[in-house]
């Protein structure tokens, strides 16, 4: 905040408190839900997509880069976790650390992609995710990754514990977004997104800013992927690298509205909620409706649900 007046500071504090309480309500709510609703896996998927949509928010909402291959980090996390647990017989928490490292390493390797703009970046990141998948799923690497035959991690299977770790990851991600929304760093990122040339002239390090956002975003996906592997314990590479995961997260984010805290949350609760209620019974009709919804959204509400309010000048947390 450039303004250092006491009033501005008080305003900032109020904002941070509001944002943080929203985050807290969501996390606690999802914790409580596990006690009252027994389809734990469905709740777990909600937690996963809440975190993924916000992770994507970090890179897209604040820098304007939309990686279609976001699932690559998720898959890298899932396999980082699995490899350490399978080969080193490490504990699940060590596995989670490995998941984080795997996603970050991949993010560093893919840093050059940030030189590309818009659609090229989106497509290249998708190709990158596919490439990682092709490597992981290759039967020639069966001894390492189990190739296409899938991973089984029954030794560390702990659905309750891993659910709470997933909640912790969600909390971490939400706090990251709160921080980005209210910090000088987050503001400068948005300045870069809107006009990289002037932002650079104003002394904001464009490259550094984007790199940090990219790594944070990858980290979130990696952690979510790791906890997914842990929670589900048996999976195939095409589960961990399912392009639909990217696409769902993207649609949720855009539907709610990027750069905000509430937008992606709304997107997940509404769309994934509908998906689970209606989609299960009549998937094809739902797939059609879903597709139509996306089309209408892009044409008539490209900045998401929250833009109904922000267009009227109302600040949405």
């Amino acid at each position: 905040m450039p303004d250092t007046g006491a009033e501005a500071r008080a305003k900032l504090v109020r904002r941070v408190i509001l944002d943080t309480s929203i985050a807290a309500v969501v996390v606690i709510g999802m914790g409580v839900a596990r006690g009252v609703y027994s389809n734990e896996l469905m709740l777990f998927n909600f937690v996963m997509f809440l975190a993924l949509a916000q992770g994507l928010n970090i890179i897209y909402g604040f820098t304007g880069y939309l990686p279609f291959g976001y699932v690559g980090f998720y898959g890298a996390g899932a396999y980082g976790f699995s490899l350490v647990v399978m080969h080193l017989h490490a504990s699940a928490l060590v596995g989670m650390a490995a998941a984080a490292v795997a996603a970050l390493v991949l993010a560093v390797i893919l840093l050059p992609l940030l030189r590309l703009s818009g659609a090229y970046f989106a497509i290249a990141s998708m190709a990158a995710a596919q490439a990682v998948y092709e490597v992981v799923a290759n039967p020639d690497l069966e001894n390492i990754t189990k190739g296409p035959y899938g991973v089984s991690l029954s030794d560390v299977f702990a659905p309750a514990f891993s659910y709470y770790i997933a909640l912790a990851i969600l909390a971490f991600t939400l706090l990251l977004v709160v921080w980005l929304r209210n910090s000088r760093f987050g503001m400068s990122l948005q300045a870069i997104r809107d006009d990289s040339v002037s932002a650079a002239m104003a002394g904001v390090s464009v490259v550094r800013g984007r790199t940090i956002a990219w790594l944070l975003s990858a980290l979130v996906a990696g952690l979510v992927g790791g906890v997914f592997a842990w929670h589900i314990s048996v999976f195939y590479p095409d589960t961990a690298f399912d392009l639909n995961i990217s696409i769902f997260a993207t649609v949720f984010l855009l539907f709610g509205g990027a750069t905000t805290l509430c937008g992606p949350l709304l997107g997940v609760f509404i769309l994934y909620g509908i998906y689970n209620v209606i989609g299960i019974a009549v998937p094809q009709y739902f797939e059609f409706t879903y597709g139509a919804l996306i089309v209408l959204l892009v044409l008539f509400l490209p900045n998401g649900l929250v833009s109904l309010l922000t267009n009227r000048g109302i600040r949405v947390p």
Partner: protein, 416 residues
């Protein structure tokens, strides 16, 4: 707020436990939960299973329900089925849904290893017995998990041994010395390829000159066929899914290359589907497994193959979408196992169901052969003879079982 929710949760748990403990009177219906994939890569193996299972349910309900020994009477079946659209993530949620929300009495998996895989740990976690229709993944069957049994389809490592036996036995006599193996890199075909490689190396009679995996999404084989032809193998084994086999057989015909022995899994197991897509001339002489849809076992229970095929055609007229084939048999077969299980189980407790299913092992004879389980739940009874597609009349092909000799109903013709 939190404590309130906790209390609510506790209440629910107590209620659930209470209802489980009190042995209720006969329920109004036996709930069977299952998944199917109406779209995506596994739809073509999932839909026939599901349709056949539905056929069994309808038939049973039309007869007044299924006989349940624990209550000494017939009870109608309520089928709860969800569409996972070939997505494992969706499937996982849905297995959970069936167990925790719908509280199904019996849980039947989706077809194929991939969609079954996610159900295995969930069923085990919730101590729910899983009727595994055709998920043959070796990792599913472990001694410490009593909550699974494979209905049909022997485990992948057993399936292919008639191929190597046949080549080592009759093939060698006719001068077959070399073999090329081309497989799709997925659990189902990959394990079969690896098993075959092991068998050939163990027997040491036929030499493997080409052993390659290709991605399951491979849709054209022209160059691969050219490359294989360059090595001049006597036998070519192509192990893939339906789409792979269609592309392979079409390209093989187009290439004009001839091999003395060509094997493809689905040419026989989903004969009608393949025939629709590649035509008869491309299939003539091809070797394949002989599924129960083309082989007449004498059943003690349920319809025989002819009667079932007729019932299928009546319910799903040819051309209505889903073709008759091995997977249809698997679905019906699963229904029969369920039926026999309920007819013998002491209660609907999941361990009692486990006991009842394993109690059928070795005794149950259906249109799919003899149902026999290894003690970890893997299927070892239902064998699939090696067969060959041979001309029958002018424009028809018949799948003739040629090996092993005790199951054979025809003679193999090995090309020159």
């Amino acid at each position: 707020m939190k404590s309130k929710a906790l209390a609510l949760g506790l209440l629910c748990a107590v209620a659930a436990a209470g209802s489980a403990n009190a042995q209720p009177a006969a329920p109004a219906a036996i709930t069977i939960g299952t998944l199917y994939a109406s779209s995506g890569p596994y739809a073509s193996i999932s839909m026939p299973v599901f349709d056949a299972f539905k056929l069994w349910v309808d038939q049973t309900n039309a007869a007044g329900g299924v006989e349940v020994k624990a209550f000494g009477k017939k009870i109608p079946i309520k089928l709860v089925a969800y569409d996972d659209q070939s997505s494992t993530a969706t499937a996982a949620t849905l297995y959970n849904q069936l167990i925790t929300q719908d509280h199904v009495d019996l849980l039947v998996a989706d077809s194929g290893s991939v969609l079954t895989s996610v159900g295995v740990p969930i069923a085990k976690e919730h101590k729910q017995f899983l009727f595994d229709v055709s998920g043959t993944g070796a990792a599913f069957f472990t001694k410490d998990n009593p909550y699974i049994a494979l209905m049909s389809d022997p485990v992948s490592t057993i399936w292919p041994h008639y191929i190597s036996d046949f080549l080592a036995d009759q093939g060698v006599k006719e001068g077959v010395k070399t073999v090329a193996i081309l497989y799709s890199t997925n659990d189902f075909t990959g394990t079969q390829a690896a098993a075959l490689k092991g068998f050939f190396e163990r027997d040491g009679k036929v030499k493997i000159v080409y052993y390659q995996g290709v991605p399951t999404t491979t849709s054209n084989y022209t160059v691969l066929i050219n490359n294989i032809a360059a090595l001049n193998p006597d036998a070519v084994l192509e192990l893939g899914y339906v789409g792979n086999d269609i592309a392979f057989l079409r390209n093989l015909q187009d290439s004009g290359e001839k091999f003395r022995f060509v094997f493809s899994i689905y040419a026989g197991t989903e004969k009608e589907e393949i025939e629709k897509n590649v035509g008869i001339s491309a299939m003539n002489g091809i070797y394949s497994y002989v599924p129960a849809s083309d082989y007449e076992y004498k059943p003690d229970v349920g319809m025989d193959q002819k009667a079932f095929h007729a019932a299928w055609d009546k319910k799903y007229p040819p051309g209505s979408g889903v073709a008759f084939g091995a997977n249809a048999i698997y679905g019906y077969m699963t229904g029969l196992v369920v039926q026999q299980t309920l007819a013998t189980t002491k209660s609907l407790d999941q361990m009692a169901i486990h006991d009842a299913v394993f109690g059928l092992s070795g005794k149950l004879k259906t249109l799919d052969g003899t149902f026999e389980l290894r003690d970890d739940g893997a299927q070892i009874g239902e064998v699939t003879p090696l067969g060959q597609l041979q001309p029958e009349g002018k424009d028809k092909l018949k799948l003739v079982a040629v090996y092993p000799p005790d199951l054979a109903n025809g003679k193999a013709i090995i090309g020159k």
